[in-house]
């Protein structure tokens, strides 16, 4: 153990980690928490201690800031990790893979809509707004643009006997946006149902705050921004690089809508 670290310090470090596990409790409402957060910023020894306590538990400290509190992420195979298989558990077996992709893609779309420009993700003061409708409509339009690009080509339609090689945008386009159910609720296997579920889940995790339950509009919290910026976007980017997909870098926002032009 490093010299100078006492039992009280260890307890305080563990407490900061424990408070980080309560995502809906901001430091501004808890004097002890606020003290711990400022100590993390000022005391490098304490910072190291907190990081090590978290690492021992299978956690990574992404950021500790007065606005967001301690933002933690689970390492792979940690007990605190949330697995996609558990999240998408209720889906039917026969199209499991496609369902998993749709769930993951929806989370990606929520982040994209919450932070439409790269600047928004970098700007700590930015608060994004995202709704079921925005997610659904934007992704569908992006898919339609991709569809337009292949339209008319010989190989436009997917192969019958290789469903796993089908492009993701095609799976999304095929899935209905909404469907009327007998009891008037949103059918859960539609894209709107999937988006609504993802938004509710993120709100439960303290990443989003519901503004208007009726229209399903949420605003982002600083935690969410940190989580997307410091971890999720970066890891996914690396994953895509490994797959050989090299997204073109550009300072401009790429979220554009030119759909429905083909109607005319």
């Amino acid at each position: 153990m490093t010299a100078g670290v006492g039992l009280a310090d260890a307890e305080a470090a563990a407490r900061l980690v424990a408070l980080g596990m309560r995502p809906r409790q901001p430091p501004s409402r808890d004097a002890v928490y606020a003290d711990l957060v400022s100590r993390y910023g000022e005391d490098d020894g304490f910072k190291d201690l907190v990081n090590h306590v978290a690492a021992g538990l299978g956690l990574v400290v992404l950021a500790v800031m007065p606005r967001s509190g301690a933002v933690l992420a689970a390492t792979e195979d940690s007990v605190f990790e949330i697995k996609m298989d558990e999240y998408a558990r209720r889906t039917a077996l026969h199209n499991r893979q496609a369902d998993k992709v749709l769930h993951g893609l929806t989370h990606l779309a929520i982040a994209a809509l919450a932070f439409p420009r790269p600047d928004d993700l970098g700007n700590d003061a930015y608060i994004g707004r995202v709704s079921v409708n925005a997610v659904e409509v934007s992704v569908r339009e992006a898919c339609r643009l991709l569809e337009q690009r292949v339209a008319g080509a010989d190989t436009a339609d997917p192969l019958t006997n290789a469903p796993e090689l089908e492009r993701v945008w095609r799976v999304y386009l095929r899935r209905p946006s909404t469907a009327a159910t007998k009891d008037g609720r949103v059918a859960s296997d539609t894209t709107r149902g999937i988006a609504a579920r993802a938004l509710r889940f993120l709100a439960d995790q303290g990443f989003l705050v519901a503004l208007d339950a009726e229209s399903g509009t949420y605003r982002t919290t600083p935690r969410y921004q940190v989580q997307v910026r410091e971890l999720a976007a970066q890891r996914t980017f690396d994953e895509l690089l490994a797959l050989g997909v090299l997204p073109a870098a550009s300072a401009e926002a790429s979220l554009r809508v030119t759909a429905t032009e083909e109607l005319l």
């Binding site: 996609m84 019958t160 997204p247 073109a248 429905t260």
Partner: protein
């Protein structure tokens, strides 16, 4: 074989063939309705023309599509019910409504996960292989209105099925439709004129749709829409369209009114009156479109003010939409699982594993376990009836075979029965059975099974006089089956 196919130009990767096949496929759900109607349990629906009802549904939904929404299912069914009722007025109103709902749900393909249709078709790949591809399409789609209600819209495929040949340049088709209309009115063919006017209205709806899409996108993010050139061009074009349509239709209106007043044929007058109503509706729609067009600029400025632009970038960050989401959309399903799952894992945060409280734990442990019988619930003993053993043996079948072997002879059933009774008292029953089977026997199936002769029984009206059986005294004979020369040649 492959080289043969490639040599033959007709089999090349023919785009037109695929296009035609897809167009054909779009009509399949309508044909399918008429095939499936016979299988409906809740009504004898064979007397309804379901494809016609479906076209009416598509028509009504298309006409209801305007800026904000389409029609909800109840409304569409309400509109269609009079048409359904006209087909079978003596059936109940409940049944008419149910037919309406059934057609709408079938067009949506309720019950499948994707709520759509698909058809497989083949094309030749570059190396001459035959590849099967899947074409997915939908006719009606359900969308959510801002108030959370679900409403229906028709897809492009459905509009193409309905109006046909929409796959052309709108403007030129528009002009063509106008010319056609004027011609038609001059020739007095108002029925066709009505169709042309309706087609003009669909195009107006399409302009409205395009503008609505742009305005929606503007509300989400001003920068996502090209307000520098794209939208002004669209607005310019749409305004020109409204202007020309307004002028044309006002002229048309007076033309038709003249046609109505001059015509002496009451049917013609009625058609002209209907046409006037449609043209009026078109004009109303153009006015609506024009109002929206005028507001579009203001909407843009208001949104620009609302969506304050942030200052310059502070640190290099990833463009989530362009660099993550879009590449993921382009990947095949199996390759995209890894990146999207990674994103989910990283963005979902942490969850504290749930541990029961001490109270809860004690309670859980104290609950007496439910005793389960390792053998499960008793299986109910089924009540079985003994099967009556077949009393007729091999010998009896052979005897009857001999009795019924009547090449070039015709015998009465009564005679056969008498002869059988003299051989064995059980035999007449079997003779009766075989002769009954020989009434209306199918020659085609006997031939397909490769039999050389077939037993025939014909009723000539004579009554059977027998102690055991009643009915007609049938004429029984054995006919030899010979293949007709032409059939044999074709088979070879």
């Amino acid at each position: 074989m492959v080289s043969e196919l490639r040599l033959n130009r007709g089999f090349g990767s023919d785009e037109a063939a695929a296009r035609r096949l897809k167009a054909l496929a779009c009509t399949a759900p309508l044909h399918d309705l008429d095939v499936r109607k016979a299988r409906l349990e809740w009504a004898d629906a064979a007397c309804y023309q379901m494809a016609e009802v479906a076209l009416q549904v598509i028509d009504q939904v298309t006409l209801a599509m305007d800026f904000d929404r389409g029609a909800d299912q109840e409304q569409v069914v309400r509109w269609v019910v009079p048409f359904v009722a006209a087909q079978n007025p003596d059936r109940g109103a409940d049944e008419h409504e149910r037919v309406g709902h059934w057609v709408v749900e079938s067009l949506l393909n309720v019950g499948s996960v994707d709520r759509g249709f698909q058809v497989d078709y083949g094309s030749l790949s570059a190396d001459g292989r035959y590849v099967r591809r899947r074409f997915d399409f939908k006719l009606l789609v359900e969308l959510a209105a801002p108030d959370g209600r679900v409403y229906l819209r028709t897809t492009d495929e459905a509009i193409n099925v309905l109006v046909g040949a929409l796959d052309t340049d709108v403007e030129s088709a528009q002009v063509a439709a106008e010319v056609k209309l004027e011609n038609l009115i001059r020739r007095g063919r108002l029925g066709d004129a009505r169709l042309a006017a309706e087609q003009a209205r669909y195009r107006t709806v399409q302009y409205a749709e395009a503008l609505r899409g742009k305005l929606d996108a503007t509300q989400r993010d001003v920068r996502s829409v090209d307000w520098l050139t794209g939208v002004p061009e669209l607005i310019e074009e749409a305004l020109a369209h409204v202007e020309s349509r307004y002028r044309a239709e006002t002229a048309m209106l007076s033309n038709i009114a003249d046609a109505r007043d001059e015509s002496t044929d009451p049917a013609q007058r009625k058609k002209a009156a209907e046409l006037i109503a449609i043209v009026n509706e078109c004009i109303r729609r153009h006015t609506q479109l024009q109002a929206r067009l005028q507001e579009a600029g203001a909407t843009f400025r208001a949104e620009q003010d609302r969506q304050q632009f942030a200052g310059g970038g502070r640190r290099a960050a990833i463009d989530v939409f362009g660099q993550l989401l879009r590449p993921c959309l382009e990947l095949p399903v199996n390759a995209s699982v890894a990146p999207v799952t990674t994103f989910f894992g990283a963005v979902s945060g942490v969850s504290a594993p749930s541990v029961p409280s001490l109270n809860g734990l004690v309670e859980m442990l104290m609950v007496p376990s439910v005793e389960r019988d390792p053998f499960g619930a008793p299986v109910p003993e089924p009540e079985l009836m003994p099967i009556e053993a077949d009393s007729r043996g091999e010998a009896q079948w052979r005897e009857v075979d001999d009795l019924l072997w009547l090449p070039d002879v015709v015998r009465r059933l009564s005679g056969l029965l008498a002869q059988a009774r003299s051989l064995d008292t059980e035999l007449p029953k079997l003779v009766m059975l075989r002769v009954m089977h020989a009434v209306g026997t199918s020659i085609a199936s006997a031939r397909d099974q490769g039999e050389e002769s077939v037993c025939l029984a014909v009723d000539d009206g004579t009554t059977l006089d027998d102690v055991e059986f009643g009915g007609s005294d049938l004429l029984v004979t054995t006919a030899a089956l010979r293949e007709a020369p032409s059939y044999a040649a074709a088979a070879r």
